[in-house]
């Protein structure tokens, strides 16, 4: 059983989880309040916030002003709402439906 015990050995390194929660950014892209776990890299969170602000500003530039947008990824969803020049951003990881197998045909 010694060999099998090795399998349960945990490495100290770890994988970044996708962030879950919400945060607000001011008009300069600074994070004001956040419910996202502290261990998620702050620079990446800041980048999401700045992307959100940029989206609202560039949309106005294209004469399509937005108050809210949702970005759908295969494993993740970002929702952002404009908030007095800044934004509130919601981060939601997606989950696979369990119990299925998948492949492709051509």
């Amino acid at each position: 059983m010694g060999i099998l015990n090795l399998f349960s050995k945990k490495s100290e390194s770890k994988v970044n989880r996708l962030p879950s929660g919400s945060f607000t950014v001011d008009s300069l892209g600074q994070i004001l309040v956040s419910t996202v776990l502290q261990d998620y890299p702050r620079p990446l969170l800041t980048e999401i916030g700045r992307c959100a602000l940029h989206t609202f500003r560039s949309a106005r530039g294209a004469r399509l002003p937005l108050t809210e947008f949702v970005v759908h990824y295969a494993a993740f969803k970002v929702t952002a709402r404009e908030l007095r020049g800044g934004a509130i951003v919601f981060l939601t990881p997606r989950s696979l439906a369990a119990g299925s197998t998948s492949s492709s045909f051509a």
Binding site: V15, R63, L66, V70, V71, L96
Partner: protein, 375 residues
Amino acid sequence: MDACYRGNDRASGYEMPARHKILLVDDDQDMLQLYRELLGRLPSQPEIHTTTSGAKAIAFLESEPFSLLISDLSMPKMDGLQVLSIVRRKFPQLRTAVLTGVVDEQFRTRAYAIGVDIFLEKPGTAQEIQLFLDCIESLLGREIQGGFRGLQSKSLVDIIQLECLSQSSSVLKVTNGVREGRIWFQEGEIIHAATQDLSGEAAFHRILSWKTGNFESLAGEPGQARTIFESHQALLLKTAQAQDEAQAPAEADSKPAGETGGPDAASKALSAISRFQGVEFVLTATTGEAKARESWGVENPEQVAAWACELLQRFEVLGERMQAGNLSQVEGFGLQNHVALVPQPDVALCVGYQRHITAEQMRDTTKKILASWAS
């Protein structure tokens, strides 16, 4: 330390025409040693290489061809998802597997979103070890036969025949772009089919007309009402006949038209899209140049095209950095109107909606538009 292990020769009577090469990545040397010993027991006697970091793994893959990459998730500097994300892009033909002790639904979802072939938890019992070995052997075997990518090279008809011949009770979920259909099997008989707007035989024929796509085999649904009563052979024959008939006039029509994908055809396609409920404007843009290709109902097409392309590119980069999987769509909601941006190969599709349309309606209509666009 990196190493190469050539398996053992216990199965001396077994000779593979070409030996597979497996690359194992794990920052834990003990684990690598253990896996090497385990994988050395595989009947196909693969050549096993090991490495302790993602960067070295990528260097290995660049220097010689491998059949399979097995990666741990938790590694310092570059984690397994980062490695797999790079590998998927650089070596799309390489089979990839995740082997991890981190039991987490989110990581499984993300790994499959990246495109790994299989996500395995580190085995803890003798039975699990055997299952792990069977999975790896199966992955390697699929490659020998030209790919399962074996199944990928088969048509949907082949897949349906397999379900019927194996007397399966299951539901085959078939997706073609944004279109989705389901075929219900009960003890090898096709009993029902449904797409977004059709059901029964009509849906079955529609699904069979899709030339490429993905399928998922879901658990059977014993309670499903039967709407199809023909044998699967009769159904498939009818479908083949219908497709032959449909193809003949289409081929005849295509000759005088010459360029079915030309500007006129594109304008007609946009005009058709504009007839969907709630659509205010439509625009397609070439993503490389951020230029409007075709538009309908847009006052400032060049500006909107540049905005759409830039935004999609920005979110694609962000998604890649976060390892969130492929970007499928951006939906924007405004006081004047709503907008959906969808990345397509080399093209960005931008659809504007009236502001009274709900998010759900917008999503449904965008799906229909994409289906119409694809066809």
